[in-house]
Subunit: 182 residues, 4 copies
DNA sequence: CATGAATGAGCCTTCATTCAT
DNA sequence: GATGAATGAAGGCTCATTCAT
């Protein structure tokens, strides 16, 4: 991956972009062929870059994860500790409503990710957000990272539901947040 | 279905049992062939009883739904209004933790069920439980059925997560319940 | 077949009747199960009377053939030699228009029939009709049984065509008949 | 289809050739698997070239139809009006004697073809041949395209008959032709 | 004998993956 | 490195035929 030819890198990125779109719409069960088509490359090219469909999924999940981690990190660094955790939570659920992949990631989509526990990468910034919120008195002391993680995954899944609307999202998350407050 | 021969009924039940197991483990995407194998039956037999894979899934989902509806009804009839809603909620999540199918049902698994809106069958008892809880002052007035439904589906999905334990379940549900209380 | 119990004979006939209907409508590729259903018996009963689907078809074809043979015989015995051949020809085509089976029979539907050459049973009365017609000067001398047979099969097939109407039938057969006249 | 790779075109043609053979022998109900086997190709390859069995059949029928249309056109353009219609008729029946598919085409084999009415493509040249023949006084005025079409289909079916020989063909067609003459 | 459930080979179709070009 | 054709293992489903009841 270090010494990629220019066109190879270009292709790799086009494939990733296409895959993100396709999997966001159709879920992880979408066909690799459609990814190739949307990327405007041949199927073989996809498999050259990602020897397995799982590899492709893992790459996407990893990128997604990285983005979430970084967003969480930013909020942890700069935001108001009292609201940052909930703001992040909301952002993730919003993202999930738009892309199936987010929910799938949080539920343990990419086998590799789950096995490698890479998902735990989110734990650090999430833990920080939680701790800060607790120190600021915005979240009860007895709420642990584990529950937050579970609730995040759960809410992201719920965002995929049929009648999901921004309004329903507000009301649902408000219940969860209220349950976290002292 | 009323006057089935003894061996036919036996097989029908074996198939349903096998299907419940298989789908509980592998989800609705498990193969009909595996169901047949686990039931100790030829593939044709499965299709004789359930002409379509969807029919088989629908049968299972319907049974599941009926069980949930009846449990909710019982709690609505006899239980303490203050706790019945939460008790039911907990039971569903517990069931989901044991069988993938519950979560899939709540998310809109069986095409027939979703289309027919049969899932709405759960709305009635659930609505009753909610109303009673609110009348008893155990749940805030502004919590609506829609949110409860969403949270139920969400929590059931979460129960499928990797590190899910009874203890985590308690802590997670407690947050949701607390968010519902006045 | 000699010492059949009363109910057995009754069933045998019901099956034959049903099969005639079903195959007439859907052709020889109709399913045995539908025959059983229409006969109001269980599938096993069909197979007890006709160990093979082909046996059932053969039975029907044989009955059909017998009917045709007898009709031809009657016409040969009583009718006006000048028109009897053409009258028979027309009757067969009319029958074919109403029942797929006639055409299939004439084309060699039932394997057994074709192999056993039972179809040749029609040759005798048909030959008589032809000879009489020729003796009466209604058909050219150089027309042989073989051609008549072929034309009969052909016209019967044609009767199954999409746009077939009585009018078209008249016009088409008139051409064939004209070709046969001196 | 224009810029197919060499091996792909080779396979496409092998498949078509094999299909033509197989369907010619066994009729349209022959299995795709056998086509693949005879073509020396995996089953997936057949479906890559023809996404559906019907597509494959349609391709064959279309090619067949095109061949017939072009032959008719040639005869209409160059041949002796007095004999061209009969010559074409004979050629079609000859082809049918060799390949089941011709008869099936004329009878309305390929779903797509029948629905799309593509078969009517044959009507134009056939109509021309008929008109020319009538103008040349070789065919009676009251013979219409419809009858010719029906007789063509009928004779093609007949060509599939068991005892069909070139000699029988001549005698049979001669009767039909004679019936058409003034 | 009748019943109808069970069987299982066979069909069409999809899709991840490989490999010749 | 890219291409896209070929592969073949499943998967869902049908139906003639068998056999326990």
């Amino acid at each position: 991956m270090a010494q990629l030819r220019a066109d190879a890198r270009r292709n790799r990125e086009r494939i990733l972009a296409a895959a993100e779109e396709v999997f966001a719409e159709r879920g992880a069960s979408a066909s690799t062929e459609e990814v190739a088509a949307r990327a405007g490359v041949a199927i073989g090219t996809v498999f050259r870059h990602f020897p397995t469909k799982d590899d492709l999924l893992a790459a996407i999940f990893k990128a997604l994860l990285a983005r979430l981690v970084s967003e969480a990190g930013e909020l942890a660094g700069s935001g108001d500790p009292k609201t940052a955790l909930f703001a992040f939570f909301t952002r993730v659920v919003e993202a999930a409503a738009a892309r199936r992949t987010v929910a799938e990631l949080l539920t343990g989509g990419g086998a590799d990710l789950r096995l490698g526990g890479a998902l735990r990468a989110l734990d650090e910034p999430l833990g920080t957000l939680l701790r800060r919120a607790q120190e600021a008195g915005a979240v009860r002391e007895d709420v642990r990272l584990e529950e937050v993680r579970a609730l995040l995954a759960a809410a992201s899944q719920a965002a995929l539901l049929a009648g999901w609307t921004p309004e329903l999202q507000d009301r649902t998350l408000e219940i969860i947040f209220r349950g976290c407050r002292p």
